[in-house]
Assembly symmetry: C2
Homo-oligomer: 402 residues x 2
């Protein structure tokens, strides 16, 4: 008998009608003779509601107490789902994060899983139970409740699948899989049948909101096949995320990230130490820098351009201004409204035709490219945010329609 | 430094404004140099809301899962109250029932406390924290969440006060103490300054809803002084429940219980074994019998009258009917709508004047008495429910006004 882990998100468990659909997906696996472990999120907008109530009480809520508060959302869901399955004459039992227990570090609101004790789950499974586990939460070694940050239920599910050596982890969501790009931008998007962990990581970090990176990273590390499926469609085809053969060239998707600002530091002294000092100052202030490019105007100075998240722009400019003299910067320029459009697929960077096709699609639409960055499995370009949707459409058409 | 346990009920913690008043009561004790342990209920109608959602999912909700569900209410309150105190620059920490831990038996929805581990609470107190504990909940020896049934937060508070050897337990509520009778019936009620555990038990079982019997029983067993106070009044006089000297005669209150039916078994064979058999049959069917009286019509048979709760009447009549031949009963009579009016005070039964005054008050108002029962600290009479409010008024006037 195989163990299957199923995860259902907030909108999939929002009310009685949806919980009924969830039980159908669970019972389907039980009837195949599988042992089923289910991970659920808080119902609908429950977590948002708790956070807004919290904001009334404290400007800067204590993080330990925040975790005590928001972890109640998943606890409500597990008990309701277990009751509903018991009402339908299935054996079911709920477990909170601390009851499993899922042991984490003590980084409240954003804790990381250290290890999972399998014994309690395995005993309940052996006794014929469907085991319903609260996502997004654990317990630290001092007995405090911890949570994993938003989207942490995916992480719980894949970590449990890894720990229990499950056959696979099914992530049920509103959509029936991962798509070649955002269907809100492009009309004829295509569902991806199969994608590698690395490609999925790129898709997620580029704004494809289907899976969180932490869960994909765990899936990759422990080789857990992850299926992204729809709770509401019975066909259950979905997208499989696993270790694909890196030799095959498959363009898997086009993604967009609108949360980009570019900063250009002009006239930096042309010494290696200056580049190091610049990024050290930013790192010390917790500013994450993404794409970086250098250009050399003359022998003695260089310009360095890099991107930061939009909401880090103000801080970045302040920090650079404070350290202007220190770092020997002549001028600081910035461009606030940029987007990063990325094409993702194993081996793209090694096949020159792919980049050429991408730039051709942009050129045909008069879209200006500010920066380019590539990796083994992606090519990203920085464009004006006003052009971003057109860029996604043009690139998608070039690779998936033409 | 003394430990003070404070308990705040659902309406006292219903919203931000009320939580602010609660922090005032807590801070007042902290400023006196006391170590403060706070027990809270779920906010406002939270528990009712969860139970109505549960009713949608299951006609007969699984009891283990019910406890997982409803225990979230208190968990929400503890974190909010701790946050608010931290926001006001006080050190505070929340603990759920399992974090304390409060160990109970496994009787889900109605579990009993076995023991409380003081260590975690004592460590947090020693480090200067206000410790906020979820009422109404514990954990059994298998790691399951348990709850104590409605009103269980009072039990948590008094049990903690006993376990921690606290100086006293303050039960904060909507009203500023225990009254001589129900202010909805009688106008000029008087607040009781001091009452014994036994009298309080009688008051509670007679329908005075201020304190639950379980908490008073624990208070009595471990000699914990309990103060009933108002959350919303700063004077904080309230009513003290403790071990009073049983020699002093003080009439403390008049209570009423409308949930009474009387059953009369006519013509029972006049043998001791018959009485035993009758009540054995009822006990085996979980029927609680309250007042009992026997009357002897002739030498060979006797009549036995007793009271049961109204909602047990139908079952009682069915059981007696089934066993009619068995028990040798000639006839079964019943009176559905009776009320028990009780006068409570240490030593009342030993002072004949009290009973006489009580009967005089009823006689002056033409109120018929069906049965009379007395104990060391109370005299109860059974009257028609339509006369019950008039009876309470008349008796209250006789003892507290005249």
């Amino acid at each position: 008998m195989s163990i299957i882990v199923q995860k259902f998100g907030g909108s999939s468990v929002a009310n009685k009608e949806r919980l009924e659909l969830v039980t159908e997906q669970i019972i389907k696996e039980v009837k195949k003779g599988n042992k089923v472990v289910v991970v659920v999120s808080a119902q609908g907008k429950t977590t948002d509601k708790l956070i807004s109530e919290e904001a009334e009480l404290s400007k800067n809520p204590d993080k330990r107490e925040h975790d005590v508060l928001v972890s109640t959302g998943e606890q409500i869901t597990i008990s309701k789902l277990a009751m509903l399955l018991i009402e339908k004459n299935y054996k079911a039992v709920s477990l909170t994060g601390w009851q499993v227990p899922i042991i984490t570090n003590s980084d409240f609101t954003n804790s990381r899983i250290r290890y999972i004790h399998n014994t309690t789950i395995e005993e309940y499974l052996a006794a014929g139970n469907i085991v319903i586990i609260a996502g997004f939460q654990g317990i630290d070694e001092n007995g405090n409740i911890t949570t994993f940050g938003r989207g942490g239920s995916d992480t719980t599910a894949v970590a449990l699948a890894a720990s229990l050596n499950a056959e696979r982890c099914d992530i049920f969501t509103d959509v029936d899989g991962v798509y070649t790009t955002d269907p809100r931008i492009v009309e004829n998007v295509k569902k991806i049948d199969s994608i590698s962990y690395d490609e999925m990581l790129e898709m997620a970090s580029m704004g494809a909101k289907v899976l969180h990176n932490r869960c994909v990273e765990i899936g990759k590390k422990y080789n857990v096949p992850i299926y992204v499926k729809s709770t509401f469609e019975k066909s259950n085809l979905g997208t499989l995320v696993n270790n694909k053969n890196l030799e095959d060239l498959v363009i898997n998707g086009v993604a967009k990230d609108d949360n980009i600002s570019k900063v250009t530091v002009v006239g930096l002294e042309n010494k290696i130490s200056r580049t190091y000092q610049l990024f050290k100052v930013l790192a010390n202030n917790n500013i994450n820098v993404d794409v970086i490019s250098q250009s050399f105007k003359e022998e003695l100075t260089k310009d360095i351009a890099f991107t930061v998240k939009k909401n880090d722009l103000k801080d970045t400019l302040n920090i650079l201004d404070t350290n202007k003299e220190n770092l020997g910067i002549k001028e600081i320029l910035h461009n606030e409204n940029l987007s990063k459009v990325t094409i993702i697929g194993v081996g793209v960077a090694n096949k020159p035709g792919v980049a050429a096709d991408m730039f051709e699609a942009l050129s045909e639409n008069n879209i200006n490219i500010y920066m380019i960055t590539t990796s083994e499995i992606k090519i990203s370009v920085l464009v004006d945010s006003k052009d971003a949707d057109l860029a996604v459409k043009a690139i998608h058409k070039k690779f998936f329609v033409e």
